[in-house]
């Protein structure tokens, strides 16, 4: 008798359900940022050696490989480094209103943060455009405390 090689592939059922998990992250730079946002301010960490200003700040400089802890206040205005126009969501559903997402280098920072730009036709958006942050009425200390950016 020979082994019948006829059967198709099989599906094997399984789940990954160990438990919820806890994982410690370096929260100092994020805490600094969201705490300052509660006051409608933006703070980052500056490396004393290469003078890079990180927002949100890590606790060590990637380039100089030293601990860093100098807090600096960043402006709420900045420049658009690049932008993307969301015309369909990630599941592929077309949006009725396009959303303008931008990477923004705030004045005084060397790294970029993300935000949405409102109040303009996306055709008019351009790299290098200056924008200003607008805050929610009652900030709670979260990344969503910046309601939007607008061109200035």
């Amino acid at each position: 008798m020979t082994f019948e090689m006829g059967e198709e592939t099989r599906e094997v059922q399984g789940t990954w359900d160990i438990s919820t998990y806890k994982y410690l992250i370096d929260g100092a730079g994020m805490k600094l940022l969201v705490d300052s946002m509660k006051e409608k301010k933006i703070r980052g960490i500056k490396c004393p050696q290469c003078e890079t200003v990180y927002v949100p700040g890590p606790t060590f400089c990637r380039k100089c490989y030293i601990d860093i802890d100098e807090v600096v206040e960043i402006g709420e205005t900045g420049v658009v480094m690049s932008y993307a126009v969301e015309m369909a969501d990630v599941r592929g559903n077309p949006l009725e209103e396009f959303r303008l997402t931008a990477m923004i280098k705030l004045d005084g920072a060397d790294t970029w943060i993300i935000g949405t730009i409102s109040g303009m036709d996306w055709h008019d958006a351009r790299i290098g455009m200056r924008v200003k942050a607008f805050w929610v009425d009652e900030p709670v200390g979260s990344l969503a405390d910046i309601d939007r950016f607008e061109a200035i």
């Binding site: 094997v12 438990s19 994982y23 410690l24 990637r62």
Partner: protein, 384 residues
Amino acid sequence: MQRDIAIVAQAQVMTDSLDIPRERMLFDLVKGLFDKVGITRHDIDGFVLNSNDFEVGHTIANVFEDTPCGAYMKDETHVEADGMWAAQYTTMRLLSGNYDTALVVGNSSGASTFRPYLVMDYQLNPTYDRQLGILNELSTAALQARAYMAKYGAEEDDFNEIAARLLRNAALNPYAVRSKADATAGDVLASDYLYEPLRQLACYPFTDGACAMILASGKRAKELTDKPVWIKGMGNSVDTYYVGERDLATSKSARMAGERAYKLAGISNPAKQIDVAEVSAKFAYQEPIISEALGLFKEGSAGKVASKGLADLGGSMPVCPSGGGLGAYVFTANGLVRVAECVRQLKGEAGEAQVSGAKTALAHSQDGFCAQHNGVMVLSTEEG
């Protein structure tokens, strides 16, 4: 080997309750190692980082390791298997001649994130071994322990003696997270069974931590340290994934891994030529299976080795003066830890656990259920 490669220095950190971010643990460890050797991250030609998402406890874990290990804008690659494979890969990169210095760093934070036994379930063969929900890391270990006992007439007490020796040795190791200076087989016997014949104190303790090592080509190594530890040989061998296709009482893959390493290192009589061995056993019973496969002791001799103290610190073939996997078992990084412990021995830095006059050491590690994959490195104080 084609080129002389040495380990320059090692650093370890281990804990049974991680209370800092993994990134901070890595930054402090690696920066401390650079400072100890007197170099900066720019002196490293190639970085090999070693972790596993399952064993760290979250997805894409390696992306958080690069900059804490000093790899910003550097040549960096990653190994997911046990650290032994990261150490061998790092050595091969140096052997290529394209690198003169390398950093290898292994780490895990999974023990404080998930219960490790549960995570291991997801490494089990999903097509058969996982389907009925009765095989897991402990039941497979118990099956393997029984198989050895039946084949060679060993008893649980032999394994408890091994565990007691390892716990005593761990008391001499500043990095160990579990130890007992005066441990006896009776102490192990008094601990609960997890699965018969596995007593709690004969199973690995849940450990988080990291191990980092700097390797270099011969000339560079001698510039960086007075005591380079030379890599004389290495080998590995993988058994079948399906547990039911193996003879669990012995380890053919450990034997073949050893033979490959011995051939490169010119070792014909390991029991005589090797002065100290760091064997990776997650459970006490695995130590005799592996060390016998590696030719350090006669096949099936666990009882005799224990009763005569042959593997003790003062014995004829000291095994795991560090306490091995029963003193601390950092998933993934464990293989690097075994190598690093050989480095401490060969540099004469092992303190009270020092094997006097140790010149040749064997580091072994494993991956998978019942030590499916085995790797060996032979290290020496002598160049060439």
